[in-house]
Symmetry: C2
């Protein structure tokens, strides 16, 4: 399967990409000649990772009947100092909210995504040291 996107320059540092499901606007802040009318390109990589592994976890928890009340994923990427600046260290924190967590199933779901299913995680492993953790919050 091949995925295709096309970015369309809108002047200054603004680019728009129309995708099924929505338009993504990318811009820089004023320091780099933009106007902050869109998201920065590099954090979109972190967003892609959170979305990909998040979808795995949600669908696995549903199959395992281990749903939670709420679920957030925090991704931090450390950029190298020298050009080309890339994420060399990345942490992914899976945060589950609810009561009576089925922790063995939740951990299994998270690990299946990390190790087997999440293609974005696989890409990240090729350029970054990736550290993952799970946290539970009773609510």
């Amino acid at each position: 399967m091949i995925h295709t996107i096309e970015s369309d320059w809108k002047g200054k540092m603004l680019f728009c990409v129309e995708e099924p499901g929505g338009t993504v606007s990318i811009d820089s802040d004023a320091e780099f000649g933009g106007e902050g009318k869109g998201v920065l390109p590099k954090p979109l990589m972190l967003t892609s990772l959170a979305g990909c592994t998040g979808m795995d976890v949600v669908s696995l928890l549903k199959k395992m009947r281990a749903e939670v009340a709420d679920f957030k994923i925090e991704v931090k990427g450390h950029l190298t100092d020298e050009h080309p600046k890339y994420y060399d260290k990345v942490t992914v924190k899976y945060k589950f909210y609810g009561t009576d967590f089925k922790k063995d199933k939740i951990e299994k779901a998270v690990n299946l995504s990390i190790e087997r299913y999440c293609g974005v995680m696989e890409m990240f492993r090729r350029f970054a040291e990736v550290t993952t953790s799970i946290e539970y919050f009773e609510k």
Copy 2:
């Protein structure tokens, strides 16, 4: 420098990430339990690449006084067949629109981004075979 994002699960397969400059919504289509209310996570990687190298090229062309009338970047990512599915082959087509192109400067700008400045390109090189090309369209 550290970049941080947090995805917030909104039920089914929908996730939202609030970033300076906008909110990115991620969703799957109905086949995978979503409702198509957001973009797919993996193409966001391609979007990140187009944005990062696009910003480099625009700012370099401005410095070199080699502006063009319009500029698009098409990125195609070929996914592996087996899990974890990742982009193993990626093509990036830089498409310039205008008249009287300063082609030597344009090619220099594109190559500086590819080889030296674009951190997302550097990340892609670690997991994919990346092929780039330049096309000119008189308008």
